[in-house]
Amino acid sequence: MTMFVSAGMPAGVKVFTISEVASQIRELLEEAFPSLWLTGEISNLARPASGHVYFSLKDSSAQIAAVIWRGNAARLRFQLKDGLEVVARGHLSSYAPRSQYQIQIDQLLPKGVGELELAFQQLKAKLSQRGWFDPERKKPLPRFPRRIALVTSPTGAVIRDMLRILLRRWPAIEIVFYPVAVQGEGAAREVAQAIQRLNQWQSADVVIVGRGGGSMEDLWSFNEEVVAEAIYHSRIPVISAVGHETDFTIADFVADRRAATPSEAAEIAVPDRQEVLSSLTASQRRMTAVLMERIKKATQYVNQLAQRRALRLPLERLRTLQQLLDEKAERLQRGLRRYLEGQTRRLQQTAARLDTLSPLNVLRRGYSLTVIESCETLLRAAEKATIGTRIVTQLAEGKLVSRVEEVIAGAGKTP
């Protein structure tokens, strides 16, 4: 546009307005650089409330202003910071109010390291700094949980495997299954919300969160801060079980316990019924054995006492007393025996209902039985063997025949 601007100017000269020049320069820049990749170091990073991100990209001798608009900035998975080497894709334009040219970035990647890897390392460092991985703040898992919540995908083998293992090991369990998406857009929020709600409802005394194996991209939800936060704030202990043995996620670090796989999580969460039954049987045996021994000793003691008095006190009155004592001793003995027989019978009835009472189970847990070879007497006390005796030890698998080298007597029990 040409117009009269000032007297004294040559006729026909074109005079531009600032806006015209600024806009033409912008058009030139945009036409010349519609799309380019650029590498450099971030400096002067600024993130104002608008959500847009401004910084400079520089190398050793030059710098270019850069901007990432809010929408693109929200999609960045890693944290930007000054000094970070990046590769950016965008187009050049000019910011007319200051005629400053800039690259408007639509894709930004860290240089030399994967985007997800960098994001993972950054979040790990941040949460570690906050103490979220500290062993002292990890909650113990209940030894015998009553209700277990499973937060995982409703499809696939993971949920089936976990249910199968849980029910096999500990049938007296209640399970609350909370189905969620475990990958893709929104999955992290679903997982986090499930953990929060289970806490709010007090639905369980332990929570397993997890999914099966996949790529780092597939497992990504478990590396997001929102999931880490939910696990960190959970009052219910959380077991994290993501992917395979070699996959480590942020969720694993924050959780109270990491399991290598979802199946392992199920095994960690509940005890094994068979093992618990075996230990009950062992308690029963030990209790009975100790009591039998004490009754035997008490009986012997009473007998000794009665004999001594009979020898030393021939007087009639004392004989009567002695007789009385004998009777009492016998009644005590009878009473104890009857009581014991009753208890033993009750125990045997309980035991008969269990299929786990076989001594083989005891042997399998590492105990062994030893008999003297010549007379096949079961050895319960070391004194019953003498040096040189050949003894046979029955193990869960096979037998050992050995010769006694030394006999160390056990400590006597009080009668």
Binding site: F144, F177, L277, M287, Q343
Partner: protein, 83 residues
Amino acid sequence: MNSGEKPLPTFESALADLEQVVHELEDGQIGLEAALARYETGVKLLRHCYSFLNQAEQRIQMVSGVDASGQPVLKPVVPETSP
């Protein structure tokens, strides 16, 4: 404890009590009469533990939604009996 009535012990506490009984008996510090009483307690605890382990009432529920008051909507799940 909110009432004078003795509630059934949980499996965990019954097992802990049983372990204590076995320990006391093996320790041999208590008198014979007390030992008999402890033995009887032990047998009761054993019976309780065994019956708990044998009850095997499995319950699986799935969170199928959340109702208006923010409470879970649960629906029972029948586990597949796959090999």
